[in-house]
Symmetry: C2
Subunit: 493 residues, 2 copies
């Protein structure tokens, strides 16, 4: 693979000067035009040591309007990063639509270094490359333009370059023992890199191998490639992909029976029994919360359910039992501007708790599969691919050891009606009911279909749905607490 970037391609000083004005004007113009689009741009710069990654980045930052750009470097994990799933630190850096981010080091850095310098396992490496493909594909389908540059130097040229830097007093400090150690590992590094490049070189997130021996050729080629890709995309925005084939809910008799019809809503708890169980469970939960904090295990708790199903009350009972210092409750309403400018999962990744902490989501990423689907806020191709995206997201959490507990609070339409009416008459509850609640209620059957498919596709062995019968609030609250206590016990072993 790399023989094709050891050709001695070069650009003379005159050629360089001649090409520059048009390139710079083009880049600024494209950057400006990009702001009107829904596309974030991610530029990844990788390559062998000594190939001039930082110099290239400096050059690009002079050619572009730096106010529209972000720059990220990734080394080993910081403490903050170690306390979350490995992908968290990349998610939070994702640029908004219409803007760009440059990555010096990225999600490729650690897997390759682990494989090369620490003799990492080949199948773990393959697994990580699969995750990368899925991550990049997800961003690309969401509109992102992803350009990955690999700067290449032959081993001989790498040695020459290190020697030259060492020979000059002004640059000697830049060459470390680590650089020489990596030079020794050149062949292994190149082999692992080849595998990574080959397996992640996709149409939507391609690699560009760049011959880096001649700095002018290197910089000009990277700049020109960015320009040509942006121009092509600005001229021909891709059509949305076809919706998934999966959403033909076959028009067959009997198909209107959903998982919600199987919930026994008649279950009740008397007042005395409720008070007793609530007290016991709250104490147990409080103790488990402390244990989890000390064991640095975190939890993510999701509440979904019909309007007026009792999410608020259940959450209050939970938070009363837990230590407020390690607890965060995220109320998910319409996304902010900042959130809308990114992939819909970004706003949920942001709040993933640190080790030992608990985040409760009052509504969640599942809005994508309920309100956004039913109301048409997301296109069929968009919500259609969310099943897999959400399953992957939850797998990341569970793989990191996070206890993930998902509740759906179910009530009957009659019970909802009674609660709506009560809200309208009881003064301190009146703020809880809006016209929108009444409108949602009319779409009950469409929501039932959506919920049935959601449970079928996202209730997995590692993150099952817990459907809670909610007609009796006391019964529901106790069942929520019991489920959570059991889940935390399992997590804590």
């Amino acid at each position: 693979m790399f023989e094709a970037v050891e050709l001695g391609r070069k650009v003379s000083k005159e050629e360089y000067e001649a090409a520059l004005p048009q390139l710079r004007a083009g880049l600024l113009e494209a950057q400006f035009a990009l702001r009107e689009t829904r596309c974030p741009v991610l530029v990844l710069i990788h390559g062998v040591e000594g190939a001039g990654k930082s110099e290239l980045l400096n050059q690009l930052s002079q050619w572009l309007d730096i106010r529209g750009m972000e720059f990220h470097t990734f080394g080993r994990h910081t403490d903050e990063e170690r306390m979350r799933p490995p992908w968290w630190r990349f998610w939070i850096t994702l640029p908004p639509r219409g803007k760009g981010a440059f990555y010096l080091g990225s999600w490729y850095t650690n897997p390759i270094l682990t494989r090369v310098l620490e003799g990492g396992d080949a199948s773990a490496f393959e697994g990580y490359l699969t995750q990368i493909r899925q991550f990049e594909r997800m961003l690309a389908l969401d509109g992102a333009i992803i350009l990955k540059f690999w700067l290449h130097l032959s081993k001989k040229d790498q040695r020459r370059r290190l020697e030259k830097l060492e020979g000059d007093k002004a640059t000697r400090w830049r060459v470390t023992k680590e650089d020489w150690r990596r030079h020794e590992a050149y062949d292994t590094f190149v082999r692992a890199s080849e595998t990574a490049i080959r397996e992640t070189d996709t149409g939507e997130a391609p690699w560009y191998l760049i011959e880096a021996k001649n700095a002018r050729y290197r910089d000009l080629t990277v700049g020109q490639t960015i320009l040509e890709v942006l121009q092509a995309r600005l001229q021909n925005p891709p059509a949305p992909p076809p919706p998934s084939l999966a959403h033909a809910a076959a028009a067959v008799p009997g198909a209107s029976v959903t998982i919600l019809d199987r919930v026994d809503l008649s279950q009740k708890l008397e007042d005395a029994a409720y008070e007793k169980r609530l007290k016991e469970l709250s104490e147990t939960l409080g103790r488990l919360g402390r244990d989890a904090y000390e064991a640095k295990r975190s939890a993510v708790i999701v509440f979904e359910g019909w309007d007026a199903a009792g999410k608020g009350g259940a959450i209050r009972r939970l938070s009363a039992a837990l230590d407020a210092r390690s607890l965060q409750v995220i109320s998910v309403a319409a996304p902010t501007d900042e959130e809308k400018a990114r992939h819909y999962l970004w706003r949920f990744w942001r709040h993933i708790p640190r080790s030992g902490h608990i985040t409760i989501y009052d509504r969640s990423w599942y809005g994508r599969l309920m309100v956004e689907r039913v109301e048409g806020f997301a296109r069929p191709d968009e919500w259609g691919r969310s099943y897999a995206e959400i399953n992957d997201f939850e797998q990341h959490l569970v793989d990191h050891g996070i206890a993930l507990v998902k509740f759906f609070l179910h009530i009957s339409p009659d019970e909802q009606l009674a609660r709506f009416k009560e809200r309208e008459t009881v003064p301190y509850k009146r703020h809880k009911i809006t016209q929108e609640d009444w409108r949602n209620r009319e779409k009950w059957p469409a929501y039932e279909t959506a919920i049935n498919e959601m449970v079928a596709r996202t209730s997995t062995a590692h993150a099952p749905w817990n459907i809670i019968p909610g007609n009796d609030k006391r019964f529901a609250r106790v069942q929520v607490l019991e489920t959570l206590v059991a889940a935390l016990k399992r997590t804590l072993g």
Copy 2:
């Protein structure tokens, strides 16, 4: 996941009879309309034991015009199958465009059974699921409609069904010890199946979970789903995906230097030295061929190169040295109708040699990246995704232990001109030159660019390109033989 298909959905006899006429008419009509499209249809039927997979298949074969359909069942490997890479047996069953194939068992069968019954390794399982996703995605991008049905029964219902079959004299023979053994493994089986389904449930090749307790509901739902998907696809054929972002060959000075410019075409071999080396190498090759046959190692040898670069002569020298009984030379010209009706790699998979045999491809799948690209026979999105498809294909060969050796015979434009002229004047060579050869010659620079990109993206550690300087035929032939001898020695250890 499976809780959503334990709902007790059923269809009464009357409802069934009422729905049937429209369903059957619709299916026949869709099947007929499908023939005019470029879409092959693959229907996979899987599920737990006792869920009625064969009954369903019988039912579907009555509803459809059986002349347009193929039926495939997959059990354990046959001897013929074991002698080729694992995916070979699926490739050769792929239906032509406009027609359909039903799979009772498929590429999912062995991975799941290995995982469940033989305690297969989790990371091998994950790796296999990744291969499946790539395989299905490749077919879908090529136009295939892939529908995967999973028939579900609860453990209790499975037991009841097995007991019922056993209790009836007429059906007792159908229940085997193996069935009961699998019933015992129900929970493990369902868990592994859930993982497989979740990780391969994509928009382009979705899974449909079907509640199988009520046979009428099961059959009607599958039939109706097939109908609805076909109708949707016939009404809205998806637009071709956008071309890869990767093919912006940056317009930069120096970029016209290609890997071919680095080949030293002045290398020569004198007659006497040539005859001596040819004799030695032929003998060695013959011996290695026999060793490989006995060790059951096969080889795939690819010849590409400019017109008149000497492929034919080199191949003749090879085949003279090898045992004709274990050798097959495939001359790749324009595809046949049967080949055109399938994914372009199908015609190459067909000829993958059995263990111990050797296949020489005189031109190959790389036509996709040269003539089809340059002449526009393939769309940019089509040849653009071929790099990854070809790398995957070759990985399958190499993983199976096949020695894969790829040659590109390079000559200068002047040398080609001289050879063309010779062909025109020498009577017995006149058939070897056509107007097309002259036309191809005019596109030399476009081919150079394509070849450079081809080598950059498909010369991998496991399947490197060997670029052979061909201006001197003797030098080229000897170098081909030397390369091949070295490769066979490596393969035989």
